[in-house]
Symmetry: C2
Subunit: 442 residues, 2 copies
């Protein structure tokens, strides 16, 4: 077997039409060879570009996922009571769904081993949000992860170095070779990590819109289909939701600010959009875990978990178990704010026709909510509080946003962006749905 022949098979050659399917052995030869330093990066990047152009079917993508997965260790959840169900979002602005979701679903009796990521670019990261809770530790050992999982039914950790090293190598190469935007490569990157953490079933929240990686429904649909199809090809149960990400989710964008809003959801008085999406994801997770026989029944289970107080109880117990200072969290709630602050007021009277998620997310990076490079620090207290959302009527001069920065200097560029993010029109815009599509592969 030669790498160049595999590249040319995917690329197309006189004996194989362009985009020919690769076998498990061929994909393993390339990827395992790359991880082991036997196949040079210049061959892998040429192959990645041929995949960018000619794609991979779900079976091939499953092979790639599987080969990547086996490049490292897999979390051993044996002895714990499954099935293990997780949710993954492709990333958005104000997207704190994981935070209330995990304890709600755990309270409904589902085991949720959750591995999350960090903020990058305009999108936020669950780990950064959790770490805004004083003392909260997101780098758990497998032993700690299992222990907390067994006690509260969910645990929140970052990816360890042992998990899917192939993904880190490949992602770094894709990043500099123009091969990031490939649906099968994105699919394998996401799925390999989720399967490595031990999930048997998965709910994907594929964001679609200005603040998402996928800007339009067609692209989001391709990724959702690929995640569902590849997951199924690998013997996993997958539900892929396509949800709107044109405006931020909820009213709060920031690290600690999003913890606060998540606690509101856990108490049953969260924002309508965050609650709706949390309940839908939660319902599907209970269905996938055989705790509910329909989405409606699943939603009822999740509502009970909230109204009984059980979900909040598990959340606080998890905070304690992961090292967080619960009394301080409760004291900080609604009061801990950066002192570098300003407001944005409506420039005219009318109705808010849009608050652009992407621009708002970029402003968040300036403020310290997120980061441009993986080695940058984030600020726990920075963020944006929206006082109004799309469709709300405002009068000129009304405060539309409260803005909190990591320092004084960052406020000006952030405000400049946020002013651009807000559009006010004379008429009230049409309501747009939050849930755009549900794709199931059960």
């Amino acid at each position: 077997m030669r790498a160049v022949d595999i590249i040319m098979k995917k690329r197309g050659n006189p004996t194989a039409p362009a985009g020919s399917s690769l076998s498990r052995e061929e994909i393993a030869f390339l990827i395992s060879g790359y991880v082991q330093g036997e196949i040079p990066d210049y061959q892998i990047s040429a192959w990645l570009m041929s995949v960018y152009f000619n794609g991979m079917n779900f079976v091939e993508t499953g092979y790639l996922t599987d080969v990547m997965l086996t490049s490292g260790s897999v979390i051993d959840l044996s002895g714990l009571t499954g099935p293990f169900v997780d949710k993954h979002s492709t990333g958005g602005v104000g997207d704190k769904i994981s935070l209330p979701l995990a304890p709600i679903v755990a309270a409904a009796g589902v085991c949720v081993p959750m591995m999350s990521g960090r903020a990058l670019g305009h999108t936020g990261g669950t780990l950064d949000k959790l770490e805004s809770i004083t003392g909260y530790k997101t780098a758990l050992s497998v032993r700690e992860f299992r222990n907390i999982l067994s006690k509260t039914g969910f645990a929140m950790t970052g990816q360890t170095k042992e998990i899917v090293p192939a993904d880190r190598l490949l992602y770094a190469l894709r990043d500099v070779t123009g091969t990031v935007e490939s649906v099968p490569l994105i699919t394998a990157s996401i799925l390999s990590k989720k399967v490595a953490e031990g999930a048997d079933a998965l709910v994907f929240d594929v964001k679609c819109g200005s603040g998402a990686f996928m800007k339009n429904l067609a692209d989001a649909q391709k990724l959702a289909d690929s995640l569902a199809g590849t997951g199924k090809a690998m013997g996993k149960k997958v539900v892929a939701l396509i949800t709107a990400m044109d405006e931020p989710l909820g009213y709060k964008i920031g690290n600690f600010l999003e913890i606060e809003e998540s606690m509101d959801v856990l108490e049953g008085h969260g924002p309508q959009d965050v609650t709706e999406l949390t309940l839908l994801c939660g319902a599907w997770m209970t269905v996938l875990a055989h705790k509910a026989s329909s989405v409606d029944e699943g939603k009822d289970l999740c509502r009970q978990a909230i109204h009984s107080g059980k979900a909040m109880e598990l959340f606080l117990e998890n905070v304690r178990l992961q090292g967080g200072d619960v009394p301080r969290l409760l004291a900080d709630r609604e009061s801990r704010r950066s002192r570098h602050t300003t407001t944005i007021r409506a420039e005219q009277t009318g109705a808010i026709s849009s608050i652009d998620a992407f621009t708002t997310g970029l402003a968040g990076v300036y403020l310290g909510v997120g980061r441009n490079k993986t080695d940058e620090q984030v600020c726990p207290d920075a963020g944006i509080i929206l006082k109004y959302k799309k469709g709300d009527r405002v009068n000129a001069g009304d405060v539309i946003m409260e803005v909190y920065g990591k320092d004084e200097a960052c406020l000006d560029p952030a405000v400049h962006l946020l002013q651009k993010a807000i559009s006010i029109s004379s008429s009230v815009p049409d309501k747009t749905p939050l849930i755009l599509k549900e794709i199931t592969a059960l």
Copy 2:
């Protein structure tokens, strides 16, 4: 400027449609950066693959050619009388056109600075053929090259290391990354070397058929158009001929054997196909050099160069100047043969319907005419003499080929291939044209 942005521009991204044209600066940034070790090979291979898929227009290909060209030194022909005209063939079997062509065109008053290549795979190489002349030296210094050029109007040399180093680097990378078969990349590779040797005008012989790199007319046409269009975009005059390479050219395939057949052409009694193609290439070269005002007039000039004996005189003078042993060449002619020999006889009575060029060329590699790897030696005396060609009637038992090998062991596998190469049918096949198309960019 970042390499990844240039890759994504060619690949296509939200702000640039797939295959967007790159500027001279962008191409120079990539290629000069690569040659200088500043841009890593994994970015270049991803870019090469994006060019494979999305192509380059003639202007871009001209930029690439120009940037490659300036990666090394350019032969200085100042002081010599131009215009300088050369011919390049994409490679075939029995293709010895350069050998009689250069002295014929020189005899017609055109200065021909010729840089040639070596045999590789099933195709032969002019340098290997010349070196079969005892003493003939093909590695000339620029000073020697200029000196011989000024005396005989043509000189034959190999590419020096100083000429287009970018091409060697890029070709080695393309070879292992599945990016060889790209018309703009092939074009830039060929053109950069030809322009570096000082040519003002060029005749390309784009071979088409089983024994050629381009197997069908559509592919050959793309390459011919690209060579002509890119050459024109660079201010060069270019004629691209598409010629048949389904059966070997002439009756002799080998190194010294092809020297002999070339001398026959120089004496006016060469094979019809070799003579026809030599005269057509020669005629175009005289037109490009303003020595003739039409192809017909150019052919007449070339015929005169043959019949006056001037072309042969220049050939022998060149052999002498390049270190060759002229008396020995004349003594060896028609007598120097490998002692490892056999024949191939007709298995049935009928008409030869084809002698497959590719299979014959592969047999030649076994015999020692060519090589599979660039560091292998060739055998000057090995080769094949065809006694019949396509369309000729044969009786069962007639000798169709004389076969000469570098050793005894190579004869069997070569014969096995050659038997496969020959097809005999009951009816005489239709005549097929040698010259398939002429593309001019003047």
